[in-house]
Symmetry: C2
Subunit: 706 residues, 2 copies
C-alpha cells in the first residue's frame, strides 16, 4: 500500500550502519536529524546501536509491526532483507541498493524476484537503485540526501536521484517548501503513474513536479496525468527529447512523428504543463503552488524602472499575452495617488524612488481592475528602494483574486526582499522574462481547466465491413494495403470516396468507367509498385472509352517493360473528383501512446515546411478543431485573398472518423489520406488517395481488442 510508503509510522532501515558516509548510516542519520515523528528501527546483526537507537539483528527480533522498510544492504543480501521486512508486516519497501536491472540480466532477474516477493504480500516497492524518499510534513527523510526541505505544496517525482539532491539543495537556498520528494530509481514496481495518482489525492500536495526520462504505460500515464491535472497542476520535464532514434516509417505521418511529438501530444491531451528546461520546471511549479490561476491573459506590469518594465512587456507580447492598459477610471484614480512623473499606463512606472506604499497603491489599483487578469511586479535596487518592506507591502495587499508574480532583480541588496517574498507565498524570479514564462504556463493550464467536457462522438460506421477487409488482407501476409481496399475501408467509415473499382482487363476497365461515368482516373494495382506516378502508373482525366483503352494498354506495356518482375493485378479506375484544398490526414501508432492523428496542408506544407499537428486518438471535435488551428497555414483553410473558407466542421469530422477507425482497429499501424480534398462550406471532403499499413505482429493487434 502506497500509504505505508508515504505516511509510515514505523520505518525500518535494514543495513543501518555505524560508519558515517555509508548509505545505511546516512539514512538513519537523516531520519533522526530530520525529526521523523514515527519509530525508527535500525537493523544490522553486527551493531548494538546506531546513532543512539537500539539496533536489531533482524526484524523478527524487533517484533513490532513495520510500515516501511528501507533496504541499504549489498545487492546479494537484498532478497533476504526484503523477506525480513515483509515478514514484519510492512506494506512498502524502498530498496536503495543499486546493482539490479541497470547492470544486466542477472540484476534484472534479482529485481524481478524482489518484485514478486512484494506482490505476493501485497506490498509496494520503491526502487531499487534510488535515493529514497522524503515526506516533509511528518519530517521523514528516508533518503541519503541530507537536506530536509521545509514543508510546502510542491511534491517532486524524479527518475534521477542526483537531480533530487540538486533540487533539495536548490530549494533550501530559496527557502522553498516541498511536500514530498520521491526518487523512483529503476521503477521496478512503483512508477510515475502511481505517484500521479497518490499526489492527486494528497492533501499536502498542491502542485506535482516531475522529472521523467521514460514512462511505463502510455495509456495509463495519460489517464493518471489527466486525472491528476484535473485536480492540481502537473508540471513535467521530459528529458531525452531529441535522442529518439530515426524510425523506419512507410507513411508521411510515421516519418514526421517521433517520441518527442508523442509526448507533446500526450501532455497536451492530459493537461500536463511541459517544462522545457530544469529552471522552467520549478519556475512554473512555484508560481502554480503560490498563486491563483489567471482568468485571462491581460497582464499589468508594475515597475520602479523603465528598462525592466519594457523587457517584461516585450516578453508578455512575445508569449502571446496582452499588456493591457488599466481601465480609464482606475488609471485616473491611480494618477492622483502617484507622483506626477509616474506613469499609469502599462507598464505602470512607480519611479525609481518608489517606497513600499507606492507599490501597494499601484498593486491595489491593478488588482481591483477587472480588465486585468494577472500582475507582474518588478523591483530594482535603487538608492531609496526598501526591498524587504516592499515585499511585505505587496504581500499585505493581495486579495487572491488574480496571480501576482514578482521579479526582484539584483543580488545581495534585494536578497532580504526575496526571502520575504517566499515567506509570503509570492513567486519571485531573477529576471522579468522568467516571471512572464511562468505566467504563460499558468494561463495555458487555466485554459485547459476551463476546457469543455471531453465528449468523443461516435459516427455510424460499417465496422464489420472494415474488419472483413482487414482480415482478408492480413491473410495475404502483406502489410501494405493497396489503394482499393484502403479506400473501401475509408468508405465503410463514412468517408466520401470517389466511385471506383479494380479492373483486371482492358474491357473491365472500360466497363467500370462507363458504370461510374467519365472522366475517370486510372492507377496501376500492384503490390510491387510503390511510387505509381514514377513508372507511369497514374493517368488522369480519361474522357471516353477509347481513352481508357489506350491508357490501359500503354500502362501495362510500359510498366511491364520497366519492371518485368512486377506482379500487375490490374488497374483501379475511379471517377475524377472535384478540385479543392489538399490536406493530409494521417495516423501512426506510437509504441507508448497508441494512435496519434496528424493533420497538415498537403504537399510542400507537410514535406518541406513540416507544418503539421498531432493529437492522440480518440479525439473530440474541439480537439480536432484545435489541430486545424494549430498549423501555421491555418489561414489558408479560412481563406485568404477573398477565397472562401473550407468546410472546417466537416474537416474536423474527418479527423474524428479517422480517430474512430484508429481506435477500433489496432491492427492498422499507419494510415495516410493524402490528399483529402476539402471544399467550401457544405461540401464533404473527398479521399483522393489513401494508404494503410497493417501492424507487423499479430500479438499487437486484433484479438486483444475485440
Amino acid at each position: 500500500m502506497i500509504e505505508h510508503l508515504l505516511e509510515p509510522r514505523c520505518v525500518a532501515v535494514v543495513g543501518a550502519s555505524r560508519t558515517p558516509g555509508k548509505v545505511g548510516h546516512e539514512i538513519v542519520a537523516n531520519l533522526v536529524s530530520g525529526g521523523f515523528e514515527g519509530t525508527i528501527v535500525p537493523v544490522n546483526p553486527s551493531a548494538e546501536d546506531v546513532l543512539g537507537l537500539k539496533c536489531y539483528p533482524d526484524l523478527a527480533s524487533f517484533g513490532g509491526k513495520v510500515d516501511l522498510g528501507v533496504v541499504a544492504v549489498p545487492s546479494p543480501a537484498v532478497k533476504a532483507a526484503v523477506t525480513d521486512i515483509l515478514n514484519a508486516g510492512a506494506g512498502a519497501v524502498c530498496v536503495i541498493t543499486a546493482g539490479f536491472r541497470e547492470v544486466g540480466q542477472e540484476g534484472a532477474r534479482m529485481e524481478q524476484e524482489i518484485v514478486e516477493l512484494c506482490r505476493l504480500r501485497n506490498a509496494r516497492l520503491l526502487g531499487p537503485n534510488c535515493l529514497g524518499l522524503i515526506n516533509s510534513r511528518i519530517r521523514m527523510n528516508a533518503s541519503f540526501a541530507k537536506r530536509m526541505p521545509s514543508f510546502g505544496g510542491i511534491s517532486v517525482i524524479s527518475q534521477s536521484g542526483a537531480l533530487c539532491t540538486a533540487i533539495l539543495d536548490w530549494a533550501a537556498a530559496r527557502h522553498l517548501g516541498l511536500a514530498k520528494v520521491i526518487s523512483m530509481g529503476n521503477k521496478a514496481d512503483l512508477a510515475e503513474n502511481d505517484f500521479l495518482q497518490a499526489f492527486a489525492e494528497d492533501g499536502d500536495t498542491t502542485v506535482i513536479a516531475a522529472y521523467l526520462e521514460s514512462i511505463g504505460s502510455g495509456k495509463d500515464f495519460v489517464k493518471a496525468a489527466e486525472a491528476a491535472a484535473s485536480k492540481k497542476p502537473v508540471v513535467i520535464l521530459k528529458a531525452g527529447t531529441t535522442l529518439a532514434g530515426a524510425k523506419a516509417a512507410s507513411s508521411h505521418t510515421g516519418s514526421l512523428a517521433g517520441a518527442d511529438i508523442a509526448y507533446g501530444a500526450a501532455f497536451r491531451r492530459s493537461g500536463v504543463i511541459r517544462a522545457e528546461t530544469f529552471e522552467a520546471l520549478f519556475d512554473y511549479a512555484t508560481a502554480l503552488a503560490m498563486q491563483p490561476l489567471p482568468k485571462g491573459n491581460n497582464v499589468a506590469i508594475i515597475t520602479n524602472a523603465g528598462g525592466p518594465g519594457i523587457m517584461a512587456a516585450d516578453a508578455v507580447e512575445q508569449a502571446g499575452m496582452r499588456v493591457t492598459p488599466l481601465a480609464t477610471n482606475v488609471a485616473t484614480a491611480l494618477r492622483e495617488k502617484l507622483p506626477a512623473a509616474a506613469s499609469v499606463g502599462n507598464p505602470i512606472d512607480v519611479l525609481g524612488d518608489a517606497d513600499p506604499v507606492r507599490y501597494a497603491t499601484a498593486l491595489n489599483a491593478a488588482q481591483d481592475d477587472d480588465s486585468i487578469d494577472a500582475i507582474i511586479v518588478i523591483l530594482t535596487p535603487q538608492a531609496m528602494t526598501r526591498p524587504a518592506e516592499t515585499a511585505r507591502a505587496i504581500a499585505g495587499c493581495l486579495n487572491g483574486s488574480k496571480p501576482v508574480l514578482v521579479s526582484f532583480m539584483g543580488g545581495e541588496d534585494v536578497m532580504p526582499g526575496r526571502e520575504e517574498l517566499v515567506a509570503c507565498n509570492l513567486p519571485d524570479y531573477p529576471a522579468p522574462e522568467r516571471a512572464v514564462a511562468a505566467l504563460r504556463a499558468m494561463c495555458d493550464y487555466a485554459a485547459w481547466r476551463r476546457r469543455p467536457e471531453r465528449v468523443v462522438a461516435r459516427f455510424p460506421v460499417n465496422r464489420r465491413k472494415a474488419e472483413r477487409i482487414i482480415l482478408r488482407h492480413m491473410r495475404t501476409g502483406r502489410l501494405q494495403m493497396g489503394e482499393a481496399p484502403a479506400k473501401d475501408i475509408m468508405r465503410s467509415y463514412g468517408f466520401n470516396v470517389p466511385d471506383g473499382a479494380v479492373a483486371a482487363t482492358c474491357q473491365d476497365a472500360v466497363d467500370v468507367a462507363i458504370r461510374i461515368g467519365f472522366p475517370v482516373a486510372m492507377k496501376i494495382v500492384s503490390p510491387d509498385v510503390i511510387h505509381k506516378s514514377d513508372v507511369g502508373g497514374v493517368r488522369l482525366n480519361l474522357a471516353n472509352p477509347d481513352a481508357v483503352r489506350d491508357a490501359y494498354d500503354l500502362m501495362m506495356l510500359r510498366i511491364g517493360r520497366a519492371a518485368p518482375e512486377a506482379n500487375l493485378e490490374g488497374v483501379y479506375v475511379e471517377k475524377m473528383g472535384e478540385r479543392g484544398r489538399e490536406v493530409i490526414l494521417g495516423m501512426t501508432r506510437d509504441p507508448q501512446f497508441g494512435p496519434m492523428l496528424m493533420f497538415g496542408l498537403g504537399g510542400i506544407f507537410v514535406e518541406v515546411m513540416r507544418d503539421v499537428t498531432f493529437h492522440l486518438a480518440p479525439i473530440t471535435r474541439d480537439e480536432a478543431l484545435q489541430m486545424l488551428r494549430g498549423t501555421r497555414s491555418y489561414k489558408l483553410l479560412e481563406g485568404v485573398r477573398g477565397q472562401k473558407s473550407v468546410d472546417l466542421d466537416s474537416l474536423a469530422a474527418s479527423i474524428q472518423k479517422l480517430s474512430q477507425l484508429a481506435t477500433d482497429f489496432p491492427e492498422v499501424q499507419e494510415l495516410d489520406i493524402n490528399p483529402l480534398i476539402v471544399g467550401t462550406v457544405g461540401t464533404d471532403p473527398l479521399v483522393a488517395d489513401a494508404r494503410i499499413t497493417l501492424a507487423g505482429r499479430r500479438d499487437n493487434a486484433w484479438h486483444g481488442s475485440h
Copy 2:
C-alpha cells in the same frame, strides 16, 4: 575627450553634499569608499568639507585642472555648474541631474544648451538624467550606485540606470568582475556608438555588454558595432522589440518589416550577439569573457548524474549543435581510467561518487580529443561530491584550447564550488540549458568572426537611366510608380524583364504585341487602379492581334464602368514569360538602418507563412546566399521530389543588384519584385511584376547622396 570621462585623474563633484542619502553625497562617498586613485574635488558653496575632503565653493577656488566634472545640482543650476567645470579645463562632464528632455520642451532646450556649451569647449557630456559611471581598474565609482564591482573583463553600457544598479548588485553576488559600467541617461551627447568605439580600443574590456532601448544613428551604429565586434564580442539586449507600432506600408516588404526585424538585421550584419533576455545578456557575456571561442559545434558533456546529462544533450541538439562521441582511441584510454560502471560515451558519466580527479581525467580526455570543440561539465551535489575541490581540479587542467562551461546544480552545497569557478574564470550556470545557450552564442560569434571578407560586388548598370526615370516620376508628385517605369528601372539595373511597352490606344497595343511577339499579357495602366486583377485589369496569354483588340476594348469598357473616375492612361503590353518558381524580392527603407532587403518564396509563403528573411543593404554574395538559406522553404529552391534546383547564384545576384539599386537611390522608399520567376541553373530570373514607391519627403533623399 572620452578618455577624460573614462580615465580621469581628477574628478570634481559639483553639488557635493554633507547629507547622506542626497545624490551629491552618495557620489562623493562612492568615490571615496571605492578607493578612487585620483583626486576628488567636492564643490559646494555652503560646505567646508565633505567626508573629510576639503570642499570648494566653486572650481575657480580649487584652481587645479579637472578632468571630469560630475554634476548633481538641481536642473536650473546645471548650466552654471557645467560652465564652472569647463572653465576648470575638464574634458568631460557627467550630468546626473534629471529634469531635461525627458520632462518636456523646456527641459530639452536646457539640455541642448549644455550640449552646446560642451561642444564649444571640445568636451564630452554623459547624461543628463543618468546614474553616472564606474571604472573599476582605477577604482572610480562616479555614480550613485553604491556597489563597486571587482575588476573584470566585461564592460557594461546601459540605457537604464536602474538596470545598472541591478547589474552591479547581481554581479557582486556572483563575484563577477566588470571593467567599466556606463549609465547613458538621455544620451544628449555621448551614446552607444561612442562607447562601442571606446571599449573596442579599451585594453581592460574583453566583452562589451549593452542594454539599449533605442539607438541614435543606425548607420553609425552598424559601423561602430561591426568594428567593435571584429575585435571583441558585443552582446546586446534590445528592449522594446514588440512595441513597434504598426506602420502603414504600401508593399509586402514594408508590411512584413518592422523595427525589431531591422534591429535583427543590423545585429546580424555587424556581428552583434543578440541576447533575448536579461539573464542571457550576462550568461553570454560571462562565457565570452572567460573562455576561448569554439572552433566548431561538437560538444562533449561530462556529468556525475545521468538526468542532467540528458538535459544538456537535449539542449545541445535543439540548439543545432552536436553531441559528438569521443574519438575511439580517446574513449578506450579513458575507459581504463574510470570505474567500470562509468560511461565514456557522450554524455561522459563519471558516476555519482565522482571525485575531483575523475572529473579532471574525463576533462583532459575531452580536451585532448580533436573531434571535440567545446565541453560542458555538470555537477550535482551527491553524497561524495566535493564541489570546491572539483572546481579547482577542473580549472587546474584547462589548457585554453577550447571553451569549458560549467553547471553546478543546486544551492548552498555547491556554493563553495561556484565561487571557486568564478575565481578560476570558469563560467557557471544554475542549469545545463543555460550553459548550452551561452555556448550556442559563442559558436555563432565564432562563425561570424570566421566569415569571409565582406566584398560588395558592383554590377555594371545604367544608373543614369534609372535616375532619369525616377526624376521624371518625381515631377508628377506621385509616390507610387507604375509598372512600366518600375520595370524600366529594373531593366536599367540589369534585371531580365519581359519585352513590353505602354500602349495608349487599341492599335498601339496591337502594334506593340506584334513587335514583341505573341503570346502577350495586357495590364491596365492607371495611377488610380492599385489592385489590377480585382477590376479585370490583367489579361494573360493573348495569342493574336484579335485577342489583343478584344482584350483592350473589354478592359477599357469594364474598368471605365467599374471606376468611372479612374484616369486610364492605357495598357502595358508585354511578352508572356516562362514558368518557374515564384519568389519575392523586396526592399524597404528602415528609418534607423536604411535599406533592408527581403527575400521569400512567392504567394502564400510570404502572405500566410511569413517565411521571409531580411538583410541590410549593401549586401555581399555570401550574405545573399544566407538570405536564401534562411527561409524555411529553402528546400523548394534546391528542388524536392526530383525537381531541379533553381539557379541560386543568379537569384543571389538579383538580390545583390537590388541592393545596389537601393543603395544608389535613397528616393526609392519601398520596392517589391513580386513575383520574380526563377528557373533552373543557367537561366536568368525574370521580373514578372515590380512595384516602386518613392520617398515622400525630398529632404530624405536625392541631393544628400549625390
